[in-house]
Amino acid sequence: MRTLRMLWIGTIMQVKMSSRGTFEIATAMIMPIVQATVAVYLLRAADSPHRMIEAAVGAGLMGVWSTVLFGSGGAIQRQRFMGTLEMLMLAPRNPAGTILPITIATGLTGTYAMIATLGWGWLVYGIRPEFAHPWLFLAAVPACVLGLGMFGLLLASTFVLMRNANALCNTLEYPIWLLSGMLVPITVLPAWTGPLADILPTTWGARAVHEATSGGAVWPAIAWCLGISVACFALGALSMTYVERRARTAATLALA
């Protein structure tokens, strides 16, 4: 109960902090428009105007991933810069528990990215948000955000260890978009990418959202997404304990 309360308060505080940063607000406002525009023109160029809603949803997923990736990495880097990362790690708690609110908060911001992208797609390009399974869409999006958040926790352990975590964020953004089939179907990628895509929670989360949009079996994809998310959480928690010790050895919790 105390852990749940700590996660709840921690998440509220992290969301409060993100919602008060000018840079974060500007990024959250602009990025969904950019994503929606890129997706729409891509599919128009491919002469597939009937798939516009898929484009908008795919762009929304890209926004969620970018938010979680840069949110987690950026938030931990910011904590290091502010000198609060040491104070978080000094708490007599499991290190994963102190970092988890940060990834949950970025996941929530990610949900906003999906809504904003669909909203801009409707307003600017007239793409009506019509889904094959509207209720399942509402279940698939939180499952997807959860999956991405847990993957974010796994990545957060490297952000705690590395002072230059931003470099890793840049490297991971586009490959995960592609591998998870957020915008372009996985089937167009080389066969060797298949196994890689299968172990990513983002793949199943994106599939669940796409199936809910265009029609298909949503629940199996949600189940896979949640299953891999649990594995990511367990691995992230274990890795965070190891990484916290490594960071204390390498002296990377502080800036210098």
């Binding site: 105390r2 309360r5 700590m6 308060i9 921690g10 505080m13 409060k16 902090m17 008060r20 940063g21 502010m82 000198g83 609060t84 040491e86 104070m87 978080l88 790690m89 000094l90 708490a91 007599p92 708690r93 102190t98 010790r245 204390r248 050895t249 002296a251 919790l253 502080a254």
Partner: protein, 335 residues
């Protein structure tokens, strides 16, 4: 149960840094080189030293933020490497400067968040936070965002945060740095009250007066090594057999310090900028009057106040740090 609140035995810490990709070069800096001391329960213990002496590294090894390269440390009987969580439950950490707080949150939100993180029971949080805000004089300002706080207010909030879970041992790393004199006096009173209430305090500071006023015992650290350890009175003996001449001067030429250092009987020279003036502190053997020689060496320099006085803890500190602390040094370290 251990008699000591803090025990450091042969603590060492090295930092490795790597530069270059094609021909990587590794640099190793030994920040702390085998420090041994013990702090009794309820004691207010000072760790003094110049910048880069290894004070913060020592504190971070004791409060579990850094793992020692060698040696061991225990806090309230718990090993800082193996029993990390047990140590963390019992300690508070406060450091000086602007960092370490959530700027975009209010003081109240900062305290609520850390109360959760540090395991303060929910039903006690409101009363405890109110009590601490009162203690540090922030009642009425707790709803404002920290980014609008002055340095002194931030420092007081730091202290409140460090005390949330009623730690038995409090690590204060230069808490009065950059704080105005009135706020520094309030801070010293708070620290003294905490120690009087039974909290063990390990304080690092640059300010000799602060250490002299507060600490039961002081360890002087320089170059990563412990140079002296004792009560303030014991440490002052490092400057026994000396006299001090202070000269306020305007426009001291480069090389003057070396010139003064070479005068017969002079044991040490310090120069400190003070606005437009420079304050020269010349320590000499007590049986040699160097004042006339010093003034002669400063011929042509506009001078202000000139005075001779008995040595203080600061003079003793300078003597210890400059490695000219007299024969009593080793015996005090062993004490």
């Amino acid at each position: 149960m251990s008699d000591y609140a803090i025990e450091a035995d042969g603590l060492r810490r090295s930092y490795r840094s790597r530069t270059g990709w094609l021909r990587p070069q590794t640099t190793v800096v030994d920040a702390v080189r085998g420090v041994t001391f013990a702090v009794g329960r309820g004691e207010l213990f000072g760790l003094l030293g110049p910048n880069g002496a290894g004070k913060t590294t020592t504190i971070k090894m004791l409060n579990t933020l850094l793992i020692p390269t060698a040696g061991t440390a225990r806090v309230l009987g718990h090993d800082v490497v193996r029993e990390t969580r047990e140590v963390r439950k019992r300690i508070g950490y406060v450091f000086g400067g602007d960092r370490g707080l959530y700027e975009r949150l209010s003081a109240l939100d900062n305290l609520r968040y850390f109360a959760e993180l540090y395991g303060v029971p929910a039903r006690e949080q409101k009363a405890r936070i109110g009590e601490l805000l009162e203690l540090v004089g922030l009642t009425g300002r707790e709803g404002e965002r920290v980014e609008g706080y002055s340095r002194g207010m931030r420092q007081r909030l730091h202290i409140a945060r460090g005390l949330l879970h009623r730690p038995e041992v409090l690590f204060l790393d230069e808490p009065s740095i950059g704080v105005d004199p009135v706020a520094a006096r309030d801070l010293r009173k708070t620290v003294a009250d905490l120690a009087a209430g039974g909290t063990t305090v390990l304080l690092t500071t640059h300010y000799m007066a602060e250490a002299d006023e507060l600490c039961d015992r002081i360890a002087v650290i320089a170059g990563g090594e412990l140079r002296a350890l004792g009560t303030p009175t014991e440490l002052k003996r490092h400057a026994d057999g000396r006299r001090v001449v202070e000269v306020e001067a305007y426009g001291v030429a480069p090389g003057t310090v070396e010139l003064l250092q070479a005068l017969p009987g002079v044991r040490g020279v310090q120069i400190e900028e003070s606005g437009a003036a420079q304050l020269l502190t010349v320590q000499s053997e007590s049986d040699v009057d160097v004042q006339s020689d010093v003034l002669a060496a400063l011929n042509g320099v506009r001078l202000g106040r000139v005075s001779a006085r008995q040595p203080t803890l600061e003079d003793a500190y300078v003597a210890i740090v400059s490695g000219d602390g007299g024969p009593a040094r080793e015996s005090l370290v062993a004490a």
